[in-house]
């Protein structure tokens, strides 16, 4: 398919901009004036619509079908939320509007904070972080501010992270100026408590933990873990990527965690948008509240139902993003939570039931590294399949596309060889779950009988397997117009066996 730039013809345009006669002329200084126009596409409006519509047909979303991408919680995105976020009172509201002209927005933010407090079992919320990974970084900044305030920041330099963690955790630790202390996973898929005990001391600032973990397992030792960290005077950080498993069932605050980030685009149905936007609010225990980002959203008067942005927080870490956060995400997630209310518990129960059902149907055909009941997701391994047939997790993923499913996350978590990380979510019908299980079982048989079917997959997507190695070796990251390199294909495409998902 052509690029929009390859459809461009000088002189065509989709826009008309108002021009006004008789206004003063403005002469820009020569050295500041644009010397050559940017080569933006020149197309009529209908060509624009056709181009992007055609692109959309080459893409697959949850609206197209089942999307069990582990740890990403690809659930249905209710359409009412799209209508609500487009209301002029939300879409056209300026973030620097005076508080008294933004009471509806502030009330919505305050109400969302209240719901998140109840769901997490913690005391105070900041909505500001733009995504989960920014929530992590913000949380670690709070850890530092807290220990600085206590005069302990000099010696508390280490953050403990299990080997199953998302890559964002260690990356956030470095960006916050801390050092990573890795801890192992035991034979049941829990944190290895003995290993942990030997690594936590007076230099430990915090633990970052996803619970249920990226293996989809609830850590059975969580009480002991909390004792170890709090006993050492360290804080506990909860990566809320997997919160969809436990809403209304178990709360991070009750598990002993002091800081939680919530992925609004996962658990609370902000559409993923092809890679974003997200929302990563954080909830904290009371002793951390003074350090939260500014501005805080506060209620001034219950009776009069009035709200304000509060900048007067002398111990605050500052701002981590512009204004009070990604407000449109708040509108959608707030509407989603209100659509469930206390029935959020049913949402999580169904997600866990669906995952266990798919697990029960598939565990005979693929390796199951940790044979336990799972939470909202589980991790299989294609290692026997690979040994016996030469087919890899990547091949299984590609073959699933032929059956009309988006593949699961693969090659993650890193501690499981040939990992297939499957998260069905609560959205699906039993018929869909069964069709997916049937496909996975058929693929396991195909691997034995006709391995080429897997190796050559996918067969009917808009493109065949793509050469990722070539893309990285000779990066072409923009259109080069008349000097754009021509492609000389034909050799075997090499798709990288690296984490795809999360």
């Amino acid at each position: 398919m052509k690029l929009i730039y390859e459809k461009s013809q000088p002189g065509r345009r989709a826009s008309a901009i108002p021009r006004h006669e008789g206004l003063p002329a403005v002469e820009l200084p020569e050295e500041l004036r644009r010397s050559a126009p940017p080569r933006l596409p020149e197309v009529p409006e209908f060509e624009l619509v056709r181009h992007f519509t055609e692109l959309s047909t080459r893409n697959f979303g949850i609206d197209n079908g089942f999307y069990p991408l582990g740890s990403c919680t690809m659930k249905y995105n209710p359409r009412i939320n799209e209508r609500l976020v487009a209301l002029p009172g939300f879409a056209n509201l300026h973030p620097l509007q005076e508080d008294e002209g933004a009471q509806g927005a502030l009330e919505l933010e305050w109400r969302l904070q209240e719901i998140l407090r109840e769901v997490t079992g913690l005391h105070a919320v900041s909505l500001q972080p733009a995504a989960g990974s920014q929530g992590e970084l913000t949380g670690l900044m709070l850890v530092r501010a807290y220990f600085e305030d206590r005069g302990e920041s000099e010696h508390r330099r280490k953050v403990v992270i299990p080997d199953t963690a998302h890559g964002t955790n260690p990356a956030s630790v470095t960006m916050a100026g801390y050092e990573v202390t890795p801890v192992k996973t035991d034979a049941r898929g829990n944190i290895d408590v003995d290993d942990l005990r030997s690594r936590v001391d007076e230099h430990t600032a915090a633990l970052m933990l996803t619970n249920p973990s990226t293996l989809g397992l609830f850590d059975e030792n969580i009480e002991q873990i909390a004792e170890i960290f709090h006993g050492a005077g360290a804080l506990m950080y909860y990566d809320g990527a997997n919160l969809n498993a436990v809403c209304g069932i178990s709360r991070p605050g009750d598990m002993g965690f002091d800081i939680v980030h919530i992925n609004l685009h996962k658990t609370f149905s902000q559409p993923h948008g092809g890679g974003g936007p997200g929302g990563g609010p954080i909830a904290v225990r009371d002793m951390l509240e003074p350090f939260l980002p500014v501005p805080a959203v506060v209620r001034l008067d219950e009776e009069e139902n009035t709200y304000a942005l509060d900048y007067d927080r002398p111990k605050s870490i500052g701002k981590v993003r512009g204004y009070s956060g990604p407000f449109g995400v708040f509108v959608r997630s707030y509407a989603y939570m209100r659509a469930y209310g206390p029935r959020l518990r049913e949402m999580s129960e169904t997600a866990v039931l669906n995952a266990n059902y798919v697990l029960a149907r598939l565990k005979g055909a693929y390796d199951l590294p940790f044979d336990r009941l799972c939470m909202h997701e589980f991790v299989l391994s294609a290692r026997t399949l690979k040994r016996e047939s030469g087919s890899t997790a990547l091949d299984v993923a590609k073959r699933l596309m032929d059956y009309g499913f988006h593949p699961p996350t693969i090659y993650f978590p890193l501690i499981v060889a040939e990992a297939l990380m499957i998260e069905p979510t609560e959205t699906e019908t039993k018929e869909t779950l069964d069709a997916f299980c049937d496909a996975m079982l058929a693929i396991a048989r195909e691997a034995a009988d006709e391995p080429d079917l897997l190796k050559q997959a996918p067969h009917d997507r808009p493109v065949r397997r793509l050469d990722e190695v070539r893309a990285a070796k000779h990066p072409i990251v923009k259109y080069g117009f008349e000097s754009h390199p021509s492609l000389d294909g034909g050799r075997e495409a090499v798709a990288a066996e690296a984490p795809k998902g999360v």
């Binding site: 209301l87 973030p95 733009a130 512009g322 659509a339 129960e349 019908t429 070539r470 923009k478 294909g489």
Partner: protein
Amino acid sequence: MTHPYLALTDGDREEMLRTIGVSSVDELFRDIPAAMRLDRALDLEPALSEIELAAHLGALAARNADSTRELSFLGAGIYDHYVPAVVDTILQRGEFLTAYTPYQPEMSQGVLQSIFEYQTAICELTGMDVSNASGYDGTTVTADACYIAKHATGRTKIVVTEATNPQVRQVVKTYAPGFGLQVVEVPHRGGTTDPDELRRAATGAAAVVFQQPNMFGCLEPAPDLAAAANDAEALSIAHVDPLSLGVLEAPGRYACSIALGEGQAAGNFPAYGGPHYGFLAARQEFIRRMPGRIVGETVDAAGERGYVLTLQTREQHIRREKATSNITTNQTLLALGGLVYLTWLGPQGLRELGETCLSLAAYAKEQLQERAGLELAFPDKTTFKEFAVRVGRNAREVVAAARERGVHPGYALGRDYEGMDDVLLVAVTERRTPAEIDRLVDVLAEVAT
């Protein structure tokens, strides 16, 4: 009653539990210690139907004074530019809206190709070699660029002009301690930055950050500021308004290392601060230090052209604690909105939009001086679509009084700058008309001084 967002029937549930080999849904949670289970229902208001949701959120939206309810000249970083209908149309396509990061390229050519086209548009706008797939907003991409500068230079001082948007400066300062960076601010002199003063501050710096047009709407001597940074072997980082780049020179043409900014003006609604996208583009030498997703062109097994996420060994899911950033979810859908918008504009539309903003703002400046008797805060400076004017009394009071008359006259700069309590920052986009400007002038003539 089955919840509308759920699907299982009682029969489904029974059959599934039987397959799993447990007797109840509760049993699925047996790994959670009893003390950690919530032994009551969540204390939340009852579930709302779609009809009730529409009424409730409609009532909340009605409590806001948005730019359809008052005539707005408020800008200061977020602007009331027109968002064309085609942006809504494309962004509501479920194939884009409900997909995630294109980890599996065969399922995601639509998103991947559109990001490649977006990267091209950003490089064309800024005159740079490489763009990422977007960052959270104009503030966080600036912090990202400082992180690039630290690793590229091995230095730890970041110089930021005081005339850079305070939201941006605050975020850079919040990130700095974790990055091991110190932030130094260089004051403005009569509305713009003095290149010689900046040159002195840039000695030993990792980066120099300036904004063009700056917070006051004034045009900085940008080529001289970039030179001041480059001569000190610091990275020159230009925070630019994308919609100024049809009339203002591309940062790449005056030797900036990195060009970045807030994308909202180009194709996103103000939306009380987000979600928007931040764009970040750099010279080729920084390609392997870029944060976040980058899409590259390649071929498939049949030799056909296709697109993939590339240079992923920079990223957190592979490099972990040694990654160039922790970012994963970014702002793809909003960046797609940016691409659709820039395609809608085209090069001619972009230039004309810039010229319309320039002339409307010039008209507003002229009329506010002549008819309302106000003085410009920086009378000898060239401005783009925004300018600072002295209103003779506390500007916040003027804002309040003008809003009572249905006009939001702009941003009170005293909220961020000492000694500017009587200064109002007025933004004029292509959506405003000369008649609306006349109304602003009438209102300010009445409530100012």
